[in-house]
């Protein structure tokens, strides 16, 4: 009789928390980000209302009335009665009177000019820069270059300078600095030629690396199986090194190996081949290196899984086959490989998923080069969302890249679960039923 078991739940809780934090939350955030125009300039947590000079271009194209546009473009600082009254209230009447005598009715485009006008005061000097700046603001007639925290405050300010309601709606949209929901990312993604190239690169990368991983892992497992246990352990340890080396160090060693002054170029130099960078000279070079770098890491996992699976084969079967006169190849072909069917399927599916999203070794080695020849989908997502010399990171568009991977990953997982007949694997053993 199934019943709620608090202890069991308690044991599971850490795993659930980890799954929620490191899997569910990122997936949900990716979906959410992918349908926004979020970038460095929009911020993540929301926005304000700000009309700046560069927004005016958009305003002009958006169909506001000419009066509104002029009001925005030409407004500035005006020394009028209302402003002078505010000055009298904030400071004193004498200051207001002196300013009126000097500049009454004057209009200034820039705040700096207004401040200069305030500097002209002689009898009532405003000595502190900060005070002078605050007082200059009392004469402002424009909503330009002011940041308003809420739409209501912005609309109030627009009312204050006499912008009609119809134009206000347009301006509110133009002035918002935060992110908005959009499907543009997806449209852009499917309209870019580069997307198709990255998709193709990803297919090449996953297929070839996977082939190498499984093939080489299998080769290592079978070949070490026939060695003496001590020797086998030594070889397996050596081939396990790529996985336990820190990636940065591992890739650095590959760089030393393939540089045009590196090991490989020196050796081939003796054979009369002109030295070249074997990692980045051509797209083919780059692919070979990328696949080997990833392949050796992946092969070690396959090797371990396959080795243990081979050990589980009853040795009597192998002895019997030898009695029947089977050679090594026939043993591999007819006994070992059929028994490895499930480990091979598992490794293939597991590694497909992990390769789809892995890009760290490519980032460290070729960084997608030469000329984006090895830029895979996940790397493009990283470059878009988190790497930009000019500073405006495209979080939303980068998430759109990542979302495609999430969708493919989930679809593939479901397919694999069905393929492996997961239900059957987790059914209760008959013996207890």
């Amino acid at each position: 009789m199934p019943r709620f078991n608090a202890l069991g739940f308690g044991f599971l809780a850490p795993a659930l928390i980890v799954v929620a934090l490191f899997f569910l939350a990122p997936v949900i955030l990716t979906v959410f980000f992918a349908f926004t125009n979020m970038s460095t300039s929009t911020g993540i947590t929301g926005g304000d209302y700000l009309l700046s000079q560069s927004d005016l271009r958009g305003v002009k194209a958006s169909g506001v009335s000419d009066e509104t546009y002029d009001a925005l473009e030409n407004a500035g600082y005006l020394v009028d009665d209302a402003g002078l009254a505010r000055l009298a209230e904030a400071r004193d009447q004498a200051t207001a009177d002196e300013l009126a005598a000097l500049h009454s009715g004057a209009k200034f485009d820039a705040r700096r000019d207004m401040e200069r006008a305030l500097k002209d005061l002689r009898d009532n000097r405003i000595r502190s820069t900060r005070d002078r700046k605050a007082l200059a603001e009392l004469f402002k007639t424009s909503v330009m270059d002011e940041r308003f925290g809420s739409e209501a405050a912005f609309r109030t300010a627009l009312d204050g300078v006499g912008i009609p309601q119809a134009d206000q709606d347009i301006l509110v949209k133009e002035a918002y600095t935060g992110w908005v929901w959009t499907t543009e990312n997806m449209k852009l993604l499917f309209s870019l030629d580069s997307s198709y190239r990255y998709a193709m690169n990803t297919v090449i990368y996953v297929t070839l690396t996977l082939g190498f991983n499984v093939g080489f892992g299998l080769f290592l497992a079978i070949s070490t199986f026939y060695l003496s246990p001590g020797m086998a352990a030594t070889f397996r340890t050596i081939w396990f090194l790529p996985r336990i080396l820190p990636p940065v160090l591992y890739v650095l060693m590959w760089k030393w190996f393939t540089w045009d002054t590196g090991f490989l170029a020196t050796i081939t130099g003796y054979l009369g081949i002109a030295p070249r960078n074997w990692m980045l000279d051509t797209a083919t070079n780059a692919w070979v290196v990328v696949i080997l770098i990833n392949g050796f890491v992946g092969a070690s996992l396959g090797m371990i899984l396959f080795s243990s699976a081979i050990k589980a084969i009853p040795s009597s079967m192998l002895y019997a086959s030898e009695v029947d006169g089977a050679n090594r190849w026939q043993q591999v072909r007819y006994i070992i490989l059929p028994q490895l069917r499930w480990p091979i399927l598992f490794t293939t599916s597991y590694q497909t998923l992990s390769l789809l999203t892995s890009f760290e070794y490519i980032l460290l080695s070729t960084d997608g080069g030469p000329g984006r020849a090895t830029e895979v989908w996940a790397l493009a997502a990283y470059h878009t969302a988190l790497n930009n010399y000019g500073g405006n990171l495209q979080y939303g568009f980068g998430a759109a890249y990542a979302l495609i991977l999430v969708i493919i990953g989930i679809a593939a997982s479901l397919l694999y679960l069905r393929f492996f007949n997961f239900k059957e694997l987790v059914t209760k053993p008959r013996i207890e039923g």
Binding site: T40, S41, T42, G43, T45, G47, D48, L50, S52, Q53, S54, R57, A90, R91, A110, R112, E115, R116, T129, R130, D131, R132, K133, A134, E137, L138, D145, E146, R147, F148, G149, A153, T177, L188, L192, D193, S194, D260, R276, N277, M279, L280, D281, T282, A283, T366, D367, G369, P370, G371, R372, H383, L386, N388, Y389, G390, G391, N392, L393, Q394
Partner: protein, 450 residues
């Protein structure tokens, strides 16, 4: 503090000004400097010195002000620094002052991470009124003065004198090169020819005739300008893709590879290796930055810079273009904080750190150029041959990359196209075609294609 809060904060300000509290005020000012190594230590130290000055000023006025400056410059790289600043700003824990590329002004001001320095500082008063106007312009965006230039630099073209002598230049010819470049008489085509000679005569190894910067950076926009490219339309503020100039620029690098004077796989060369090679004559020609002087003569051990290296503008590429150089000043920016008084103190510190004498410490130690006119009257600056010659020869014609929200995307795509043409993955024409479709899709209305 933002402009809109001025009116609201006004009354409180007036009150506090009227009754100056005699309480001690402890302020912690955090400064983060991106892209800074040991030679750039004065980006932070100058703020510490300024804090001392501001404390003394406050003491004389009868206020006790204690400023603690916490500096940090050990970031993994520009990306890590920029991510750090933006995430901290989102979390409300941004450092008070950041030293960063002027290109960050557009996105960070739009996002509200930074506040205009003009909210706190009088640019008509000393020392800000002495800063070169074109540098101030680079630290402004949308007509607002967001930052203060922290240093200036520019990106010259270098020649190794011995190699130039080897291919037949006399000392007088070499000395005349900078002027010939500026006049457009010595172009990038001449660079190709001379570099090829140097390789063919065995003076430098193959691939070392012309040895460019190994990673993306503002430098490559210079070559686009050399062929007549314009980055931003001055009328509309839109970015400009000049297809002919872009293709000619890509073609130049493809030609350099074909001629064997530049390595096909040059991009991605280790910076350490690169510095050591160019500083010691392994390359015939290359391009870099004015701050390289410190590295060549310091860590790389070139003891006779002026005897071994000649420098000038990046030569023109063809008749459409011009000899040019890009200056990419770092700027001091003040971030948005809960407490406006801390923003004010941060702005005051940045102002004091921009005094000619203070800035000269950084300029000379890091081999950057000064930011203000009076620095030529500061002996440590005027006595430095590199600073004065480089200022004179380069800074006058220097322009900057535009502060524009889409410039990052533009610059990344331009570099990727260059990389494709350079490494032979695509022809220059195909690379430009792809660049056009990508930029049109991504930038839309903010791009002019011609």
């Amino acid at each position: 503090m933002t402009v809109s809060k001025f009116k609201g904060a006004f009354a409180a300000l007036m009150l506090s000004a009227a009754a100056v509290p005699a309480l001690a005020e402890d302020v912690n000012i955090v400064v983060w400097a991106g892209g800074s190594n040991d030679a750039d230590a004065y980006r932070i130290t100058a703020i510490e010195l300024a804090a001392d000055m501001l404390e003394r000023e406050a003491a004389i006025e009868g206020r006790e002000l204690n400023i603690t400056v916490e500096g940090k410059r050990d970031f993994g790289g520009w990306e890590e620094f920029k991510q750090g600043v933006t995430l901290a700003a989102e979390a409300g824990t941004a450092p008070n002052i950041v030293v960063t590329s002027h290109l960050d002004i557009a996105p960070w001001s739009q996002a509200g991470y930074i506040v205009p320095t003009e909210d706190y500082l009088d640019f008509d008063a000393w020392p800000l009124n002495d800063i070169y106007p074109n540098l101030l312009e680079i630290a402004a965006y949308n007509g607002i003065q967001w930052g203060i230039p922290q240093d200036a630099e520019s990106r010259p073209f270098f020649f190794w004198k011995d190699t130039m002598r080897g291919i037949g230049y006399s000392d007088a010819d070499i000395a005349a090169l900078p002027a010939k470049i500026e006049a457009g008489e010595y172009t990038l085509q001449n660079v190709l020819e001379d570099a090829k000679k140097a390789v063919e005569m065995g003076l430098v190894e193959e691939g070392y005739g012309f040895y460019p910067r190994p990673s993306n950076g503002p430098d490559y926009a210079q070559f686009y300008q050399s062929f007549g490219g314009v980055l931003q339309d001055p009328e509309t503020g839109k970015l400009v893709l000049d297809k002919a100039a872009m293709e000619a620029f890509y073609q130049f690098f493809a030609d350099a590879v074909d001629a064997g004077i530049t390595r096909k796989n040059h991009l991605g060369t280790d910076w350490g290796q690169w510095y050591s090679e160019v500083a010691n004559g392994k390359a015939a020609t290359w391009h870099g930055g004015t701050w390289h002087y410190a590295r060549y003569t310091g860590k790389e051990g070139n003891e006779d810079f002026f005897g071994t290296i000649e420098f000038g503008l990046i030569p023109a590429g063809n008749d459409n273009g011009r000899a040019n150089t890009i200056t990419h000043p770092l700027v001091y920016l003040v971030t948005d904080q809960q407490n406006d008084d801390h923003e004010d103190i941060a702005a005051q510190l940045v102002k004091i750190a921009s005094e000619p004498r203070m800035n000269s410490l950084h300029a000379i130690q890091s081999a950057h150029l000064g930011i203000s006119k009076q620095q030529s009257n500061i002996e440590i600056y005027s006595n430095d041959r590199w600073a004065s010659e480089a200022t004179e020869r380069l800074l006058g014609t220097a322009n900057a990359q535009p502060n524009n929200l889409d410039y990052g995307a533009f610059s990344e795509a331009m570099f990727k196209g260059l990389e494709a043409a350079w490494t032979g993955v695509k022809s220059p024409a195909d690379a430009v075609t792809e660049l056009e479709s990508e930029l049109t899709a991504k930038l839309g209305d903010n791009l002019i294609v011609k």
